[in-house]
């Protein structure tokens, strides 16, 4: 018996001592001599049983037989899926040296290369021929233009452009042009003034 029990509880066991005795399973001699402590120990035991019973009932009310049956079925379904051989969906890989044409028929890769090379050669030749033909016609036209054009006027400049000769005359743009002071006039007036 503990000293604290002897001094403070007049020899009666503390609850923790009762609990220790209950859990360890070794019954202290005091319990055989003291009806009060024996009653307390029995009460503690009943209380523990009650708590356990309540806990079990709470869980069993939630996990009914139907719910457990459903759970078992679900587990077995998952196990059956696990045991089935894995299904691998094969990706259709193209065979070596072949490629898919648009209509779904397979065309050998070699032929695709030949076609590309032929296209390139034809394109180069065609480009050369076109350039040559265009160059000769352009030079003839240039020669003709040089022969028919008047000799360029001396002393003309950008400012000599006159609305009198342009297609703007008589149009709203032409009217606006007449109202606008000309740069050459401004320059001349500035020089004269200065």
């Amino acid at each position: 018996m503990r000293l604290a029990d002897t001094l403070l509880r007049r020899g009666h066991l503390a609850e923790s001592a009762l609990l220790e005795a209950l859990l360890a399973g070794n019954r202290p001699a005091h319990l055989d001599q003291c009806d009060l402590c024996a009653g307390r120990a029995a009460g503690l035991n009943r209380w523990l049983d009650d708590v356990s019973q309540t806990g079990l009932e709470t869980a069993d009310d939630i996990f009914t037989a139907e719910r457990l049956a459903g759970q078992q079925a679900q587990v077995l379904r998952r196990l059956a899926q696990l045991d089935q051989p894995k299904r691998v969906i094969a990706f259709p890989a193209p065979r070596r040296g072949e490629t898919n044409s648009q209509d779904g028929r397979r065309v050998a890769a070699g032929w695709v290369g030949v076609a590309a090379a032929a296209g390139l050669v034809l394109g180069l030749i065609g480009g050369q021929v076109t350039a040559r033909l265009a160059g000769s016609s352009q030079s003839a036209a240039d020669r003709a233009a040089v022969a028919t054009s008047p000799p360029p006027a001396t002393g003309t400049s950008f400012f000599d452009f006159d609305i009198e000769n342009s297609s703007l005359r008589g149009t709203p743009a032409g009217v606006l042009d007449e109202m606008t002071p000309r740069a050459i006039d401004t320059i001349v007036s500035t020089r004269v003034g200065g």
């Binding site: 609850e15 923790s16 609990l19 220790e20 859990l23 360890a24 503690l44 209380w47 523990l48 708590v51 356990s52 309540t54 806990g55 079990l56 009932e57 709470t58 869980a59 069993d60 009310d61 939630i62 996990f63 719910r67 457990l68 759970q71 078992q72 679900q74 587990v75 077995l76 998952r78 196990l79 059956a80 696990l82 045991d83």
Partner: protein, 207 residues
């Protein structure tokens, strides 16, 4: 029976192995559901935890050792699964608002409102209150104490079995059990106020 399942599975006779395993499932399912429910305190979570543990036990049946009872081996798988779920739940709860709880601090389960047969309304009310009190008190226990208490008192496991299932020392199991009962006693007989004073005393003692 677990040994038979293991042998059949190893021999590639999976259909037969599954049939035998179904018997094992039926035998251990209720117990597993109780443990998971009291540990996780959520019926849907417990349901999933039990299913996962049963599937995991089957897929790892090759590692099952004959010297250990299937019950102990399976419970260990279940407890580890429950622990993982609790960790995941905590991570999730950091980002979520707290779920509404009743006056006892318990998340109400729709099953609580289902009328049970054969009881008067008063009896039902008292029974529901008592259950709510017990569940709240259990919920206030630290995880290890709760697990040790559930295994010892709900499932009737010995300290040695609990030690094997949880991976704790046998003496540690006994200490956890003692503390769990002492705290439950305070919570259920004297109320929360006494529990606070016990906690304060414990904190002072720890210092």
């Amino acid at each position: 029976m677990a040994i038979d399942v293991k042998a059949l599975h190893a021999a590639g006779r999976t259909d037969e192995a599954r049939e035998r395993y179904a018997e094992l499932v039926g035998r251990h399912q209720r117990r597993a559901a109780r443990i998971a429910y009291h540990y996780l305190r959520d019926a849907a979570d417990a349901d999933e935890a039990v299913q996962d543990a049963l599937v995991k036990a089957y897929t790892h049946i090759g590692t099952f050792r004959e010297e250990l009872p299937f019950e102990v081996w399976f419970t260990r798988i279940l407890i580890n699964g429950c622990l993982d779920r609790i960790k995941a739940r905590r991570r999730r709860e950091r980002w979520l608002a707290p779920t509404p709880v009743d006056a006892y601090g318990v998340e109400r389960n729709p099953a609580d409102y289902l009328p049970s047969r054969g009881q008067s309304p008063e009896e039902r009310l008292l029974s529901a209150e008592r259950r709510a009190q017990v569940m709240t008190a259990l919920g206030k226990l630290p995880e290890r104490q709760r697990m040790v208490f559930i295994l010892s008192h709900f499932e009737g496991c010995t300290s040695r079995e609990v030690s094997t299932m949880t991976g704790l020392n046998e003496s540690t199991v006994r200490v956890h059990l003692f503390r769990a009962i002492r705290r439950l006693r305070v919570l259920l007989t004297h109320g929360a106020a006494a529990d606070t004073s016990v906690q304060r005393r414990g904190t002072r003692a720890a210092r």
